[in-house]
């Protein structure tokens, strides 16, 4: 008994030291992660001339807050923000509808070949997007969709593998009794999906919504290849064109102001909906 107590005591002593060391390591790591953000905001607030001081000013002596409004106006961020949010909301609507609708079939209804289709769907998660890229592009070109938002939004209405999987895993956990009583009352499966399953799926739908938002908002490749008019660009594509222009280095402060503004929407969403981000990853089903 004595010896056990002693071991426990030294164990807890060890634990304390390890905890303190962990916090120190985590703090150093967090500083490393945050330095780029700090550098971004610091550059965004500088006068043009101060950007190139050696050694650099970490905290601008005379912060120019107007850089943000100048960047916003000069880069026509309002136009690009409108385009981006139009695409993001459409994709969100399409993803939520199609994923929740299709998942009900996979979770509750029997049909020959159902499981094969499901496995095929899951297999596409491992498919490199590059292999379908060229024909998909040519297909949209043939139907005249290049330089419209259709190639960016319509595919969302055909179910994304990962989110269908997420919804299906969730539906399986809902007790069948709820549906059975509705069925006795004569409700169709479509009605059951719409007025029983969907209202219960709030948290999963929210999870899918936040991931779709972030993925679509940050997407660069698709808007890059499908949109050619300057007025149709998204924020991501518009920013990338600044980086390529020869003047970009000369206006690094405005560029960083624009970058700062561009990351505000996902950061706000992250702060507001943190638990949904965590849930989305935790429920990947990898544990079972």
């Amino acid at each position: 008994m004595q010896s056990i107590l002693r071991t426990l005591r030294t164990r807890s002593g060890q634990q304390r030291i390890i905890d303190i060391a962990s916090v120190i390591v985590l703090t150093v790591g967090a500083v490393i992660i945050l330095i780029p953000f700090f550098w971004m905001i610091s550059t965004a607030l500088k006068q043009n001339g101060d950007v190139f001081l050696v050694p650099p000013q970490w905290i601008p002596t005379n912060p120019k807050w107007e850089n943000f409004s100048i960047a916003f106006a000069q880069l026509k961020l309002d136009v690009y923000a409108f385009n981006t949010f139009f695409i993001v909301t459409t994709v969100m609507a399409g993803t939520l509808l199609s994923a929740s609708f299709a998942a009900y079939g996979f979770a509750r209804l029997q049909a020959p070949g159902r499981d094969t289709i499901f496995m095929l769907l899951l297999a596409t998660l491992m498919l490199p997007g590059a292999v379908t890229l060229v024909p998909t592009y040519l297909m949209f070109n043939t139907v005249g969709w290049i330089n419209t938002y259709l190639p960016l939004t319509i595919p969302a209405f055909f179910g994304s593998a990962y989110f269908v999987f997420l919804m299906r895993q969730f539906y399986i956990t809902i007790p069948r009794e709820l549906e059975e009583s509705a069925m006795i009352d004569g409700a169709s499966v479509y009605r059951i999906w719409w007025s029983i399953m969907l209202p219960l799926s709030g948290p999963v739908l929210a999870t899918i919504a936040v991931f779709t938002f972030v993925g679509t908002y940050n997407d660069f490749f698709n808007p890059l290849i499908y949109l050619s008019d300057e007025s149709k660009r998204t924020i991501a594509v518009a920013l990338s064109y600044l980086s390529g222009s020869p003047r970009s280095v000369a206006k690094m402060n405005l560029l960083m102001a624009a970058v700062t503004l561009s990351i505000i929407p996902p950061i706000l969403l992250f702060i507001g909906a943190q638990r949904y981000f965590v849930r989305g990853i935790v429920t990947t089903g990898i544990k079972g």
């Binding site: 330095i35 379908t132 998909t136 990898i286």
Partner: protein
């Protein structure tokens, strides 16, 4: 109850099952159409294209293996494979190790641990062009923050993004910044390890290293497997950062296979040739994934095996 349904079932099963199957297909229709329109169809067309000389000028015409022969004789293609291979071999294990290390630290019951978790996850939420441009500025040879910090300790940093020796390395560093997603999956896995198991090992006198080596690592191996597969697929398709930060340069020192593919598809509009590149990439990814799956019985430990024993 059992008797009545038993008597009813044979009569009703036929049309009921058919009605149910019909409804199931209606529900699955977006997915079925999506698979045909955006995956299977394009894959077949892509394969056909890869055997053709289709581009902006030529109509579709089959040319056999010409694209592949040309591809394998192209120095730049091998260069792009080499770059993608180096990047994957370095960044994937590095990312997994750092992510696991962080996940273990973040799994501790310490006050304020949630704040740390959010901070480490934050970069994955804002990955994209903006952050790529931020890195471009951070790695700026003269005014970037990295070389300024190095200068403080008396080291003269290289001109990262314009130096063939360092550009790829710079991109690997940026990739480590975004390990938050992998970290969170590891964290979820760690939280699934029963506490009693650790306790039992502790009572048996196992030290921390052997606890980690013999309990944590085996029980986490399926999560590691998941992360490894996704990591390889992601690394081989790496595009945005290379495109925005270095554009494949300097002198093709960061010409990733996806960047090479982009050039042929959308700069030169060599659709047939680009399709051939994409099929080579696809086969490489499939081969690697298969290899990882095949090797998994050697190192992946499943809960069911433990129960069976």
């Amino acid at each position: 109850m059992a008797v009545t349904t038993g008597a009813k079932k044979p009569k009703r099963r036929g049309w009921q099952a058919r009605a149910e199957a019909f409804n199931a297909y209606v529900f699955m229709s977006p997915v079925i159409l999506g698979l045909l329109l955006f995956t299977l169809g394009p894959m077949i067309i892509s394969l056909a294209l890869s055997f053709s000389d289709y581009n902006l000028l030529n109509d579709f015409q089959l040319i056999g293996f010409d694209n592949y022969v040309k591809l394998f004789n192209e120095e730049l293609f091998w260069q792009s494979l080499r770059i993608s291979a180096i990047y994957s071999v370095v960044s994937v294990p590095l990312g997994l190790t750092i992510a696991l290390f962080l996940a273990i630290l973040l799994n501790k019951k310490i006050r304020g641990i949630y704040v740390f978790r959010s901070m480490y996850y934050l970069p994955t939420v804002i990955s994209g062009v903006g952050v790529a441009m931020l890195w471009k500025w951070i790695f700026n040879g003269k005014h970037g923050i990295i070389n300024n910090v190095l200068g403080m300790v008396g080291v003269k940093g290289p001109n990262w993004l314009l130096d063939e020796q360092w550009a790829l390395f710079a991109l690997i560093i940026t990739s480590v910044w975004g390990v938050g997603g992998t970290m969170l999956i590891f964290l979820a896995g760690l939280q699934g390890i029963p506490f009693e198991l650790m306790e039992a090992a502790e009572i048996d006198g196992a030290n921390r290293w052997s606890q980690f080596r013999h309990i944590t690592l085996p029980l986490l191996s399926n999560v590691t497997f998941f992360n490894l597969v996704l990591g390889i697929i992601g690394a081989l398709q790496y595009f945005t950062d290379a495109f925005v930060i270095t554009g494949g340069g300097p002198n093709n020192a960061t010409l990733f296979i996806a960047v090479y593919l982009y050039r042929h598809a959308f700069t030169y509009l060599n659709f047939g040739y680009a399709a051939a590149i994409s099929w080579v990439l696809f086969l490489i990814v499939m081969l690697l994934t298969l290899l990882v799956f095949r090797s998994s019985p050697l190192w992946v430990f499943y809960e069911s095996e433990r129960k069976a024993k």
